[in-house]
Assembly symmetry: C2
Homo-oligomer: 253 residues x 2
């Protein structure tokens, strides 16, 4: 059907679903009217001077400050999208740093898409990351998010029990994004694994935390192991993003 999969039977019996951190609710707002048409369907022109990803990124950064502001069919620039592909799009201005923060946003975004009856949605997460053995300024397209042991899993504690979810992202979207890069040559682009950590400093081997008990040699040894496992960049949200998109039937990348 293309609708977002919300897998929570409790929601059906709730009188109102309040999206706390978005300041929205099913009784106070008409979510289908507000957000049901948030869809950008257009094709990127191969002769476009600006690479599609630059436009996408630019659109995200230009969207206005509200938590759910994004391009609609009415205000989307002509030509936004991926070559040969229709893309549905909803931008969030910020989700904060780290898995706990993006998880809150994603749970509420997914419920918003569900309540708004959006269909065929692709979510693209764009952000900075630390490169690993690649040229500075490269764009890494994540095929799989891995944890700090380089495993493709997201562990979450639910009522004291550890649940484990897959963190593979949509291969087709990754390939389409890479294909876009072939039309342009102004920055390197690659598909690889992305390592996701809970800590910016010691979790990613930085030596300049307030506390650091490991040597520069141990740091390099660890990062070499990550590289050998296929990791080309590190950041702090991709595991939760990949897991939640996969579980809810969203194309995520």
């Amino acid at each position: 059907s293309g609708f977002v999969h919300v897998k929570n039977l409790h929601l059906d019996s709730m009188e109102e679903d309040i999206l706390y951190h978005l300041d929205l609710g099913t009784k106070t707002h008409s979510l289908p009217a507000m957000f049901g048409d948030i869809k950008v369907k257009s094709r990127c022109q191969s002769e476009a001077a600006v690479p599609p990803l630059h436009r996408l990124s630019s659109l995200v950064s230009q969207s206005s400050a509200g938590p759910c502001q994004g391009p609609t069919a009415a205000n989307a620039p002509t030509g936004l999208g991926l070559t040969g592909t229709d893309i549905s799009f909803l931008s969030f201005q910020q989700h904060g740093m780290g898995i706990p923060s993006i998880s809150i946003m994603l749970h509420e975004l997914i419920k918003l898409l569900h309540h708004a009856k959006c269909q065929d949605v692709t979510i693209i997460c764009i952000g900075t990351s630390g490169g690993l053995g690649i040229e500075a300024g490269s764009l890494v397209i994540t095929d799989t998010a891995v944890d700090s042991s380089f495993q493709p899993r997201f562990e979450q504690v639910v009522l004291g029990d550890v649940l484990v979810w897959s963190t593979e992202l949509d291969k087709d979207v990754a390939e389409e994004l890479l294909a876009c890069s072939r039309e342009t040559a102004d920055f390197p682009m690659l598909i690889s694994h992305t390592m996701c950590t809970y800590d910016f400093y010691k979790g990613q081997g930085r030596l300049d935390a307030a506390l650091c008990s490991f040597s520069s040699e141990k740091k390099l040894e660890y990062l070499m192991r990550a590289y050998d496992a296929g990791v080309r960049n590190t950041e702090m949200e991709s595991m939760a993003f990949a897991a939640l998109c996969g579980l809810c039937g969203l194309k995520g990348e």
Copy 2:
């Protein structure tokens, strides 16, 4: 000596320490001149109409928007502080949600206090939380942060290895804060354990996530176990806060 303990030998050999997320650096800014005097030493008057914590909280929320804005001796309102205690104070406007986000702020704050040669610093973390079997509007003073298995520990992955740190907070500061409440009677105040989770929704037993596979009964059973273990509120940062304060010789509460 009262100085902040930064336990990282690498820092001494670095030409410059850049506090990335605070937009500050040891070469670009004179940190002792800018922040060395950030200290509020005053005593709370027992006859004060406004409870000390209200003032403290109010001061945090009123501080201007920069990342390191806080009260100094020059602009601090008379009377701020805890009864019978001198208190050093530095406020941050926001640290975002979750352990990864507060960890970044804490590492950089602790290095800032170190570079600025601040002494005898107490950090008080104020925020909202979900109550557990207590009156709405209560103020919970955390004696120990516990994880989702109700254990007083903070586990962090460093170069692929799991390190475990204690999460007990300063008992004296907790008692002093409680003593303040005895001077006022306009909200309930208690000392207890605080449960810290990585997830706002399922991690804290909420039924309104995008995904939820547990029943209301299982939720209540889990929260009852938390209550029996001494937990009276839940939030998302206290484990990292307690561990880092303890490791760096800061009085944290």
